[in-house]
């Protein structure tokens, strides 16, 4: 358009606001923007769809009895619940937490407080990051090879599998939490004459506590939903059992087993179990997000 106009009129004719960007560039940009919006929808829709079905189907079955009954329904019958599976899950998780939490926190203390920048710290961090990516089912195979081969299926071996699963998460999140503590606090503490032990225990760990606890909750949430490492460690149990060294029922394994059984009662129980699991892990991630949000302020 500016080509046809004469030199004198240029100042009136040239439209700076649209001249540089041709319609093709303009529209292709708009199409790409739209496309990225469609991609977002494509990710969000499955989430809503899953939540919709799990809540809808789960609520139908969920009753007081589901939690208090401590044996699965026999095939073809409807009487039963998963109270014992919740207890079993708690046993396995508690074992895993007891093994991995103190271990992971102290190892992270070394990485962040005493060994920062050393070759060992680098190697440990590298190996932890790789361990995070190791498939959960291999933690189960490991626990099988270490414990189950000798002493049979047990809640304890399931705890070992989940402990191996949680350990790298605990180490990483704790280390990140410790790095957030201001170096001034450490220097002040050491300047007042406290030892490294006192500084760590009385100053650094308490200061990082909210972030550390968040990491621990996330690690627990991750382990709560895992069925793969438990399939051949804590195995499954139709009945009530609190024996740490015998097989126990757990919620994730229950969902897996019942999803393959063609009985309506079991299927309903699987949906109810899915709802309980989902509620637990979503609550954990909402909680952790809230804590992170609060500490950032």
């Amino acid at each position: 358009m500016s080509m046809s106009s004469s030199a004198q009129l240029a100042s009136q004719d040239i439209d700076i606001s649209t001249g540089a960007i041709s319609p093709i560039r303009n529209y292709s940009g708009k199409i790409l923007t739209l496309l990225s919006g469609v991609f977002v929808a494509a990710i969000i829709i499955p989430l809503i769809w899953v939540l919709w079905d799990v809540i809808g189907e789960g609520v139908k079955q969920l009753s007081w009895q589901t939690f208090t009954e401590t044996r699965y329904p026999a095939p073809g019958l409807t009487e039963g619940g998963f109270g014992h599976a919740i207890v079993g899950s708690l046993m396995v998780l508690a074992t895993g937490a007891a093994l991995s939490f103190p271990f992971g926190i102290l190892a992270a203390v070394y990485l962040s407080e005493f060994g920062r920048g050393t070759r060992l710290a680098y190697l440990v961090k590298f190996s932890c990051n790789v361990l995070t990516g190791v498939p959960a089912i291999l933690c189960g195979l490991f626990a099988y090879a270490v414990v189950v081969r000798g002493s049979g299926f047990s809640a304890f071996s399931g705890g070992i599998a989940l402990g191996v699963l949680m350990l790298p998460i605990v180490i990483r999140s704790t280390e990140e939490a410790l790095l957030l503590v201001s170096p001034d606090m450490r220097l002040a503490s050491i300047g007042l004459g406290s030892t490294r032990f006192q500084t760590t225990m009385r100053i650094v760990l308490p200061a990082a506590a909210p972030a550390i606890v968040t990491g621990l909750i996330l690690a627990l949430a991750r382990a709560t939903g895992e069925a793969a490492p438990l399939l051949f460690t804590s195995f499954n149990n139709n009945f009530w059992s609190t024996n740490l060294f015998g097989p126990v029922a757990t919620l994730p394994v229950m969902i897996y087993v019942f999803s393959k059984i063609p009985f309506e009662a079991q299927r309903q129980l699987a949906w109810a179990g899915a709802l309980v699991l989902l509620a637990l892990v979503l609550a954990a991630s909402v909680l952790s997000r809230y804590v992170v949000h609060k500490t950032k302020k």
């Binding site: 079905d53 030892t195 895992e226 399939l231």
Partner: protein, 326 residues
């Protein structure tokens, strides 16, 4: 031992500075050594997992050798074991899942970093994407069996009818359980990984890169395509590697939706099997030789996932070093 009535001579014996220092120093040194020991042990666990699994697989490794990787039969009755169909299933489901997830993940990461829509819309979206990561895979598997498979079966049948010439989609009428449905659910699971890492990569790029491109007259999308994506490529690639590692090792979705067929079928519309699905579905009732064979399958899976994860880790570290150098 108040200091007022202390005289000069007794000072050296009385004040037990040395002794106190000793206990508290011993505690201090002990504590540091304990953390050192545990950190070292944490570093060794990965090696322990590898060695212990390999040890348990040893009988099968000696018996079947590398032929295990190329045998297409899994027959506990005759004790013939091979994982070629499972390797095919594992690789294909992961690759197809990535084909879906890469554009979705990068597109969403761009959407969340650019200010296309106000912040009060992007914040809940990024929260929702974080929630997807939290959904237990066994719940997704349950949903896949009872909701997704019935929903997509007509679509699968239509595609299968019209695409008979294409080997990956051919075969008899699909029933639903198939490698393709596994890949679909896997892509839901791995999208958030790509989104979160790609997004933080974009956010960590220097502002001047973007300003420079815009000042030269590039449109917003030209800036993204020609400047942002190339500059953040290593971050994007490592996010893809991590997502692939997750897809390779995902067990419950594969065990519940793949159909666990122990034969090789090229078509993704037909029931197949993955290494993880094989281990999960066979381990419960496995005899001695079969357990060793399943352990061997686990070792194969471990090698695959270690390769992917170590590579991802190196790319991330290299990227971090570059950033620090700049």
């Amino acid at each position: 031992m108040s200091s007022a009535d202390r005289n000069y001579d007794s000072l050296q014996e009385d004040i037990s500075i040395e002794r106190k220092m000793d206990t508290s120093r011993a505690l201090d040194v002990g504590f540091v050594r304990l953390t050192l020991l545990l950190a070292g042990f944490a570093g060794i666990i990965l090696i322990w997992v590898v060695l212990q699994t390999t040890e348990a697989a040893l009988p099968a490794i000696q018996k079947f050798g590398l032929g295990f990787l190329f045998t297409t039969r899994w027959n506990p009755v005759e004790d013939i074991y091979g994982v070629l169909p499972q390797i095919y299933g594992t690789l294909m489901t992961s690759l197809v899942a990535l084909i879906f997830a890469i554009p979705l993940g990068i597109g969403t990461a761009i959407f969340l970093t650019e200010d296309f829509v106000p912040k009060w819309i992007t914040t809940p979206i990024s929260f929702a994407i974080e929630l997807i990561v939290a959904i237990p895979s066994v719940v997704l598997g349950l949903w896949g069996i009872f909701v997704l498979i019935p929903a997509v079966r007509p679509v699968f049948e239509a595609i299968n009818r019209s695409m008979q010439w294409f080997p990956l989609l051919a075969g008899p009428r699909p029933r639903g359980t198939s490698l393709l449905i596994v890949a679909l659910v896997l892509s839901i699971m791995i999208c958030p990984i790509i989104v979160s890492i790609t997004r933080s990569t974009f956010e960590s790029l220097p502002r001047s890169l973007r300003d420079g491109a815009l000042a030269l007259g590039a449109t917003r999308w030209e800036t993204i395509m020609t400047v942002m994506i190339p500059a953040g490529l290593s971050g994007i690639v490592s996010s893809i590697m991590l997502a692939m590692g997750r897809a390779l090792g995902e067990t419950m979705v594969a065990a519940m939706l793949s159909g666990n067929a122990n034969r090789i079928s090229i078509s993704l519309m037909q029931p197949g099997s993955t290494i993880t699905g094989l281990i999960a579905s066979q381990f419960g009732e496995a005899g001695r030789t079969q357990v060793a064979a399943l352990m061997y399958a686990g070792v194969v899976l471990m090698v695959m996932s270690l390769l992917v994860n170590v590579l991802a880790e190196f790319i991330i570290r290299k990227f971090q070093n570059l950033q620090q150098a700049n």
